[in-house]
């Protein structure tokens, strides 16, 4: 058995939508202003994507680059590739003011899937899900804790802090209870 354990060991709940804890995923917090020289090339080298614009998520295969704030990005890649990616970023951004740090273990990641998956999030986040465009990320509140999510073809990926993974799993399961569909 691997000594690497995700926050909830892959917990799952099947209601009117399915909820599952996934991961661990490799994640890097990259802080840099968008006009930093070589930033786009550095992100491309690590994720294969372009630099995400405001509130956008860029995907290339199993890698993701997400905009988090005017000077912060979240890079997602396989867990085992983080160390090399950090080295690449350090190399490409040498001499430029930036901060790249491994946060793979500081996060829990969930998938919410199914035709009604959005309704699960509508119960927890004060975000307008109908206005969430494909490839758009929302940093928001999941009931009482911070979280971020984005949608793809089969559902939503939700990221929160690792220590509250149990709480968020409880929220998602409560919200996906069969019979509690909103519409």
């Amino acid at each position: 058995m691997s000594k690497v354990a995700s926050a909830l060991g892959g917990a799952r709940f099947d209601g009117f939508a399915s909820v599952s804890e996934i991961g661990p995923l490799g994640m890097i917090t990259l802080r840099a202003k968008p006009d930093v020289k070589g930033l786009a090339a550095a992100v491309k080298a690590v994720t294969g994507t372009k630099l995400p614009a405001q509130r956008r998520v860029e995907r290339a295969g199993d890698k993701v680059a997400a905009w988090m704030s005017p000077d912060e990005y979240l890079l997602i890649l396989p867990y085992a590739e983080v160390k090399a990616a950090l080295a690449t970023l350090a190399d490409k951004l040498a001499g430029q003011h930036h901060l790249a740090v491994d946060v793979s273990d500081a996060r829990a990641v969930f998938r919410i899937e199914g035709a009604e998956a959005a309704q699960v999030l509508m119960k927890l986040a004060p975000a307008d899900l109908t206005a969430l465009e494909p490839g758009e990320i929302r940093r928001t509140r999941i009931a009482q804790v911070a979280g971020a999510f984005w949608a793809d073809e089969t559902g939503f990926t939700l990221v929160c802090f690792r220590s509250v993974a149990g709480y968020v799993m409880g929220l998602l399961s409560h919200s996906a209870q069969p019979g509690s569909e909103l519409f």
Binding site: A5, L99, D102, S104, A125, A143, R162, G179
Partner: protein, 992 residues
């Protein structure tokens, strides 16, 4: 008697009989009934007792405005008091009991208050219970509390689930009558995203009962067609059983959807609280009929005229065989006509107006109904139900002209627009003389962020009453468009009647109820006015008018009209009380939503949490973290466990889950400069690979947080914060970087949760790490206050040689995902060295023995580092740091400040937590002067005696002095001032 008719009832399904119980009595109703309709169908006219006088009370209304017919609903986990029968949908198996009586509804001892009512006037509580002062707490309050309250308090945990949901729309239309439907149609056709909600299970409002004709067809057909059209539109969301509780700034509206009230236990959430954000709110909330104030207007069987009509048309229930109608307007004639057409008797219509000539009175007369103008009710006869009315002239003082037997009275005093949503966020009202009502002043709406109207009203809520006007108003509110043609009977002018008869003497006024639920009468409001209450808000509180669970939906306008009359002031000058959310009560479960039991609040758990739980650790909250306080073994008390853990750490080796410790990366060309401003000492000159303890203060100079800082590389520092402080300190850093020093090149990242951090503490700590192997942790390679990266037992680890216990100590950070595996490896490696885990209490004792301060114990937001003898950690060389200027203020620089000392009792006992050191004399408030207090106090298992730290005036200059300290019982004890470092003063043990 009230009864079910054999025909009719547009909402009931006679093929779906349902059984329920009221006070244990089995009754039958039909699908589609409200509980009130079903009770009336079973001739249950007496349904409760009033709050103060325990008067018999019956059903008055047919909707949310009902003040009387409240019941205790359900049993066990589904018990809930004060449920309005008029809005409760009947379901098979429903159980309910009436409220506020003892021993029974029919025979209630509390009714004695009724006969003593002249001794219980307005302001009774204020006048009676004010003297003597002590008696309130010990005598009056317990008695008042015992007799107060209508329903019973639920005793069991709520069996149901609740949830909340967020939604957004351009236009929220509240109310499913013809106005709401027309507004929704108009807005939806204009392409707006529309939510349409209705508080009941049915659509159409009054129009479908009153027989309006819209576009040439009965209103019901138009309503059904409109609903079908809306249901087919993708930009429209429709919700019935959904009540808009309150409107707030920026289009925020709370809506309570009663998902499963009518199907309890079916697994669905019982209520869902929608937190809606609307671009604009259209309140098509209709109007509420006003009662008339005549003597005995609270006797069961006296009902609102429109409610009598509703029960007849919707549920085929007759409130009585013989119903007297009393009115000041034409609308009530609809009730007389409907009753007559249903084959029931209407002995007389008493119209307070001198003459009537409208279309409706003409139809009533044509049906053979006797209409008496200029007449009033002198009094209603009966006790637990109406038996008749005494008739008098409205213009007189109540001399009885005639008595008529009847078993129901239908009254109408005109209509009040439901303006709650308009008023909640600031919409103004104006008095409309013609209708005698407060209606929205459309020139002064509640204002949205863009200066436009946040709320518009539509239909009867705007103060218009005819169907044609309602539809036109709704269309306009929704942006304009085609208005459907509508016809209904033309109505003559109403005439305000606030007291009936006009010159009623006090004996009658004392029996005219304004607020049925709180027992406020016309005479009470008049008394308040005589006693000097001129403000309607003050009168409300003095008399309790409008303060019951119905919030004065029936009583407010009548009450303030009586007040205005008593003050000889025009009604608009007296004004209304404030409309506050919720419109009708929202159950606490809906407000709590999902936040209960396991997900009541987020609990933060470390990667090693499951191990702690498996070891039966006693957990304590630290911020939102769950941390082991101690690990009691079989038969051990917590105190014994803490002593064992401390001793074992001092003699062998202990293991602590320190993952909760805050960890913030600070990086950039200006990071050193930044940290020199944040900390009181210098961090910029810390060598790479080394650690330094630092203090952070706020701008006022007060100590805010502490921790060890490690220099990672030329550009990067890692700042440890307290467990509870990581988010706060990270935000503090970002605040300074984003708002003040925005041009400094510094980035921060909170990596607290990236690492599991484990402290291995004690004389054998090094042996445990060497057993794991992988890196050199010797004194020479890794001396005290240094750190190194390496591997331990195959784990990538960062090892800090820091100590919060005074022992040889390593704090080891590994990735959180490997935290549990690393902990297990340590536990296995430490077994042969007698290693035991220790909890937060052991940590506290260990640090107190060493005289280390703890943020939150030695500090409380009023303590500066200098108070704690931490001057050595304050740079004298730096030009500035956060808090420096604050600390130079005279009060903080005073030599008289209380300073940190160690404290010991003379007999080795433990000083109680919270003890103060009294000083001679009294302060200006007559309290004893003090000269110090305990901040931390423990039994030291290492030293075998009580030890404490405290802040004492004069501090260590008083070393060796004995002072008094208080015990909890008020007695005092002798305490000696000693050095706060009780153990290993030279620090040899941590530096090996």
């Amino acid at each position: 008697m009230s009864t079910r008719l054999s025909k009719g009832g547009r909402l009931i399904d006679r093929t779906a009989p349902q059984e329920f119980t009221f006070n244990g009595k089995r009754m039958r109703g039909f699908g589609g009934d409200t509980l009130a309709a079903a009770l009336l169908a079973n001739d249950q006219m007496l349904v409760g007792r009033s709050f103060k006088y325990h008067r018999p009370r019956g059903i008055v209304a047919s909707g949310a405005e009902e003040p009387n017919a409240l019941v205790n609903m359900g049993e066990g986990g589904r018990f809930e008091p004060n449920q309005r029968t008029t809005t409760t949908e009947l379901f098979d198996g429903l159980t309910c009991t009436s409220q506020n009586h003892w021993p029974s509804l029919e025979f209630d001892v509390g009714v004695v208050n009724n006969y003593a009512s002249r001794f219980l006037p307005a302001g009774f509580y204020y006048k009676t219970f004010i003297h003597p002062r002590f008696a309130w707490k010990h005598v009056f309050e317990p008695i008042v509390r015992q007799s107060a309250g209508l329903g019973k308090v639920p005793k069991d945990r709520d069996a149901d689930r609740y949830e909340q949901a967020y939604a957004f729309c351009d236009i929220l239309v509240v109310g499913g009558g013809v106005a709401g439907l027309q507004a929704a149609l108009t807005a939806a056709k204009a392409g707006k995203s529309v939510w349409l909600i209705e508080q009941t299970a049915h659509w159409g409002g009054r129009a479908v009962v009153d027989g309006a004709v819209i576009e040439g067809q009965p209103a019901e057909a138009w309503v059904n067609a409109a609903l079908q059209t809306l249901e087919r539109m993708e930009n429209v969301t429709i919700r019935s059983r959904c009540m808009a509780a309150g409107s707030y700034d920026h289009g925020y509206v709370l809506c309570d959807e009663k998902v499963a009230d009518h199907t309890p236990g079916d697994g669905r959430p019982r209520h869902r609280l929608w937190r809606l954000r609307a671009g604009q709110i259209i309140a098509a909330t209709g109007a509420i009929e006003r009662p008339l104030s005549f003597a005995g207007n609270d006797i069961p069987g006296v009902m609102l005229a429109a409610a009598v009509r509703d029960y007849l048309v919707n549920w085929a229930v007759a409130a009585g065989d013989r119903t007297v109608v009393v009115t000041n307007n034409d609308d009530a004639y609809r009730t007389a006509i409907a009753l007559k057409e249903a084959g029931l008797e209407v002995p007389v219509v008493l119209d307070a107006r001198a003459s009537v000539s409208g279309e409706l009175p003409a139809r009533a007369r044509a049906l053979g109904i006797r209409v008496e103008t200029g007449r009033a009710i002198a009094k209603v006869k009966g006790g637990k139900r109406v038996t008749g009315v005494a008739i008098c002239a409205q213009a007189g003082q109540g001399a009885v002209i005639e008595e008529i037997d009847c078993d129901a009275v239908a009254m109408s005093g005109g209509w009040s627009p439901v303006v709650h949503l308009w008023s909640h966020c600031g919409g103004k009202l104006k008095w409309d003389d013609a209708q005698a009502q407060f209606a929205p002043d459309k020139a002064r709406p509640p204002i949205n962020h863009d200066g436009g109207a946040l709320v518009l009203t539509a239909g009867a809520a705007s103060g218009v009453l005819s169907t044609a006007d309602v539809l036109a108003d709704a269309t306009e509110a929704a942006g304009g468009g085609a208005v459907p043609a509508a016809q209904d009977a033309a109505e003559g002018a109403m005439e305000p009647v606030w007291v009936m008869p006009q010159g009623a003497p006090v004996a009658l006024r004392m029996k005219m109820w304004l607020d049925y639920q709180n027992d406020v009468k016309v005479s009470d409001v008049q008394l308040a006015a005589r006693e000097g209450y001129t403000s309607v808000e003050h009168t409300k509180r003095y008399t309790t008018l409008g303060m019951a669970t119905d919030q004065g939906k029936l009583s407010n306008i009548n009450g303030l009209a009586v007040l205005a009359d008593s003050l000889s002031a025009p009604i608009p000058q007296v004004g209304t009380t404030t409309f506050r959310p919720p419109y009708t009560p929202v159950t606490i479960g809906a407000l709590a939503g999902e936040a209960r039991v396991d997900i009541f609040q987020p609990l933060r758990r470390t990667p090693i949490h499951d191990w702690h739980v498996a070891q039966n650790a006693y957990l304590e909250p630290v911020g939102l973290w769950q941390r082991p306080y101690c690990y009691p073994r079989a038969g051990e008390t917590h105190e014994q466990a803490v002593h064992r853990e401390v001793k074992n750490t001092r003699s062998n080796v202990g293991l602590l889950d320190a993952s909760t410790l805050g960890k913030i990366i600070v990086k950039g060309p200006d990071a050193g400069k930044f940290l020199d401003m944040l900390y009181t000492n210098v961090m910029s000159n810390l060598a790479v690979g080394k650690c330094r303890y630092g203090l952070m203060c706020n701008e006022q100079g007060f100590l805010s947080d502490d921790g060890v800082v490690a220099r990672i590389d030329e550009d990067t520092w890692l700042c440890h914060t307290t467990s509870g402080g990581s988010d706060r300190i990270h935000a503090w850093m970002e605040d300074w970087l984003q708002c003040e020093w925005w041009d400094w090149q510094v980035y921060t990242a909170n990596v607290t949760e990236q690492y599991a951090q484990i402290a291995v503490v004690g004389p054998k700590a090094r042996q445990v790490l060497e057993k794991l192997g992988g890196m050199d942790v010797s004194k020479e390679t890794l001396p005290f206050m240094q750190w190194a990266d390496g591997t331990l037992g195959g784990f990538n680890a960062r090892v800090y040689r820091i100590s919060f216990s005074g022992e040889l100590s390593y704090e080891i950070a590994v990735p959180a995902s490997e935290g549990r595996a690393f902990w297990d490896a340590l536990v296995a490696a430490g077994a042969e060295f007698g290693m035991m885990p220790y909890g937060t209490e052991g940590l506290h004792v260990l640090r107190a023995e060493k005289g280390f301060i703890m943020i939150g114990d030695e500090t409380d937001g009023t303590v500066i580092p200098q108070d704690l003898n931490l001057g050595w950690a304050i740079s004298k060389k730096k030009a500035d740091y956060l808090g420096k200027r604050g600390q130079e203020r005279p009060y903080l620089a005073s030599p008289d400040r209380w300073k940190l000392v160690g404290l010991e009792t003379l007999d080795g006992s433990v000083i109680p937590d919270g003890s103060y050191a009294p000083a001679p004399g009294m302060n200006a408030n007559g309290q004893r002067n003090t000269q110090g207090r305990v901040t931390s106090t423990y039994f030291s298992p290492t030293l075998g005696k009580g030890i404490a730290m405290g802040l004492v005036k004069g501090g260590l200059s008083r070393l060796g002095e004995t002072i008094e300290m208080t015990r909890l019982d008020g007695s005092t004890m002798q305490v000696k001032i000693v050095d706060p470092v009780f153990y290993d003063k030279e620090g040899e043990k941590q530096n090996v």
